[in-house]
């Protein structure tokens, strides 16, 4: 069973590696967008899918990261990929500051506040806040990223960067899910009073979920800025947040596979419908409703965590007194 899965995973990775060889630049770029949204939706999945916090303003964090990269690169000449950790960090700090006072809000109240945050960020960008963001025109002339002296330029170059980062993200997210941290978030989603009553610092974990999700979204912002070489406020509208929100819910809250399939559908379908011209968004809206109606819990709900209890018991018995009994 385990072997079969590893084998499949390996095959998928190989397939992915070879994909740009078969695709024209347009489809490669579609895959790039799917990859980008997968990473973003995975970062939102921590907040929305695992902790169950109604968050519809994820584009705000993404924007902070992208603008950090754009400003550092165009104003100070810092190479694009070097700005990635800082972009993540600034987005995380921003999330910490804004999420702290609102984290106790419940459900729909949190939803509107997060919508408010993404709108405030967009308005600030449009109004050229601090004279740094270039207003509605945005920032242009962001340098192409260099990887070991190789300049990433074409869609297939970005394909490897984006999907490499995506696989890394999946790897880390998978580990986070199957840990004390991931469990704590799920307890909060299920019943936060009971979670607090079982000794979990719910406010802290909610905040950390926001900060971590924002950190990842901020780093993704760097890749977006590098890929587009120009960024403007339109790219970070409330609608972007809605798209990400939809991917997570449609895919199945808290499910990595779900998010992956979700972004293939939400980002891929409108592209497949392109030949419908003006009709394409109508069909897309209909498809969204139908998918939800027929898969009410999302396309692929998260599987229950597996515990190899026997192995754990053996190990625990081997290390008597290991716990702080």
């Amino acid at each position: 069973m385990m072997n079969m899965r590893t084998l499949l995973l390996f095959a998928v990775c190989l397939l992915l590696l070879a994909l740009p060889q078969f695709l024209n630049p347009y489809w490669t770029d579609v895959f790039n967008n799917i990859g980008l949204y997968t990473v973003l939706a995975l970062s939102l999945n921590i907040i929305l899918g695992h902790a169950g916090l109604f968050h519809m303003g994820h584009a705000a964090f993404y924007a902070v990261g992208a603008y950090t990269t754009a400003i550092l690169n165009t104003q100070f000449g810092v190479p694009v990929l070097y700005t990635m950790p800082l972009a993540g960090l600034l987005a995380a700090v921003f999330a910490m500051v804004v999420a702290r006072p609102i984290i106790h809000l419940r459900g729909d109240y949190l939803l509107i506040v997060t919508i408010g945050i993404v709108e405030i960020v967009r308005i600030a960008l449009v109004n050229d806040v601090f004279g740094l963001t270039g207003g509605a025109n945005g920032i242009f002339g962001i340098a192409r990223p260099m990887v070991f002296g190789f300049k990433l330029k074409k869609p297939e170059h970005f394909f490897y960067l984006i999907w490499g980062f995506c696989l890394l993200t999946i790897f880390f997210m998978h580990r986070l899910e199957n840990s004390r941290f991931g469990r704590a978030l799920n307890f909060i989603k299920e019943d936060d009073v009971a979670a607090e009553g079982s000794g979990i610092d719910t406010a802290y974990y909610k905040l950390i979920a926001f900060v971590l999700g924002a950190f990842w979204a901020g780093m993704t912002g760097t890749i977006y800025a590098a890929k587009m070489t120009i960024i403007s406020p339109e790219a970070f509208s409330f609608w972007e947040s809605v798209v990400l929100f939809t991917i997570v819910i449609l895919g199945g809250m808290g499910s990595i596979r779900g998010v992956l399939v979700g972004s293939f559908l939400i980002i891929g379908l409108p592209e497949i419908f392109r030949d419908l011209a003006e009709w394409r968004m109508l069909v897309f809206g209909l498809a969204m409703m139908l998918m939800m109606i027929f898969r009410t819990q999302g396309l692929i709900p998260p599987p229950p965590r597996k515990y190899d209890v026997l192995a754990y018991l053996k190990e625990a018995a081997g290390a008597v007194g290991g716990g702080r009994a």
């Binding site: 580990r175 299920e190 009971a194 000794g199 754990y312």
Partner: protein
Amino acid sequence: MSLVQLKDLTKTFGGLVAVNDVSFNVEQGSIVGLIGPNGAGKTTVFNLITGNYVPDTGEVLFDGTNVVGMRTHRIVHLGIARTFQTIRLFQNMSALENVLSGCHCRMQSGIFSAMFRPPSQRREESAAVGRAMAELEFVGLADQWNNAAKNLSYGKQRLLEVARALATQPRFIILDEPAGGMNDHETQELIELIKAVRDRGITVLLIEHDMSLVMKVCEHLVVLEYGAVIAQGGPEEIKNNPRVIEAYLGADDDLL
């Protein structure tokens, strides 16, 4: 020595005085019952102890420390655990995971060890699973470990709540109507379980309507009416207290 001391606790909601100047002590290693007619404020007293509500006035001393104003998870960390009157399990998660939530506060690993998985993380995880399985065993649910909480019977869900509370390694456990929804057979087993909990050195405070259970396990009883303590003492003493009889006959006649 008293492990827990409640001093002059008062809590009002709007104009309603839910808890009125309540004081009593719980001795280390004892089993104490908090009884009274419906709406007497028993559960509110519990919520004041665990930090779910903050009292208007008064103190809750746990081992000499005033816990009033502390957040609930801090109080759990200090060693007070509870179960809920209306079952609040994580319904979609397995029995094992429910108990693991109780282990959480005795574990250390954060997001970085989750991502990079050093050996210490795995050791901690296996110890936690081991302890959770031990608690399931203790309440008799070991064979149900992989079942989702929502698939357990009502009585078993109550036991699972007890296991989750025990997993926090408390010194003091408060049980809110643990026998609610249990049949006679299950109630008998619960009595043994409560005694076994006390035998582990854990002090027990419980709310219960089933008076035969209360009389069998409790060494000391505190009676609330309209948010105020009207009597306290040993089971026999309480049984014959005229005020208590009056209070119960006025409201509800299931005393004995």
